[in-house]
Symmetry: C2
Subunit: 173 residues, 2 copies
Amino acid sequence: MESNIDRSVFRDLSYGLYIVTSKDAERMNGQVVNTVIQVTSEPPRIAVIINKKNYTHELIVKSKVFSASVLEESTPMAFLGPFGFRSGRDFDKLSKVSFQEGITGCPLITEHALSVLEAEVIDQVDLGTHTVFIGNVVRSEALKEGTPLTYQYYHTVLKGKSPPNAPTFEARK
Amino acid sequence: MESNIDRSVFRDLSYGLYIVTSKDAERMNGQVVNTVIQVTSEPPRIAVIINKKNYTHELIVKSKVFSASVLEESTPMAFLGPFGFRSGRDFDKLSKVSFQEGITGCPLITEHALSVLEAEVIDQVDLGTHTVFIGNVVRSEALKEGTPLTYQYYHTVLKGKSPPNAPTFEARK
């Protein structure tokens, strides 16, 4: 079956780039995610896809809440780095960035963010390596006008890579 | 709760633009979709979100297969129109476009497409107005090099609108 699949095709799919956060009673964490999408308009619901190995996954499963910050195009790689390539199990990613506490208790990353959303999980789908979390949006706020950072821009202009836990990860041949 | 929600925020989320098709024993149909995403890499799986009112929804539920064509940026509005704003229940959308039959039996729209994918549904999630279909990619083919059409480009450059059945539809106030 795999011989029928040209994996280069997956690079034609378009995404934004977001920081998704969650928390439990003791800790908060966040990570870069390319898959935040609106799934219904009435009521407003969003979905996010997270690798089961990620610490943020563990926190969302426990707390059933998450936040998503829409990053601006001018977000520097140095800001993204810790959220994409280091685990929150090993260090506190939120210690060096601005955030507010949302109505869900999730940290809302406001630095380099055009807008923030908070959601309460109503369903989750096990996809093997990843989980789709579907949430009712309970709050959303526009922070500033601007151009959203896209996955395309991250790869082609910023020369960023996909970390191994991304749903779009491709091992170098 | 709605007072906590600024719906303008949903416009900050980034998407591509695709034609998703399916078929049953007698008919084939396709529609424009903004939500095609890769959800896992191993095995390669994609998800698509379709309004329950759409004819393509009915066909995917029956046949458990769908295809997705990644549209190129230069796709003319006249090509998109019938796929986005008319129902396949009323007329044969495929009568005027080039397509091939895929290994799933789905029609593969190749005109204005950078690549095509075919998937077999392994799970579906009821979201009220819409369904998330999750599928194993059984075939994908790159057709040509180019820039994918994004939802952003469609709205800002082509001045396109979201049809009422889109997950991102907003009624004009």
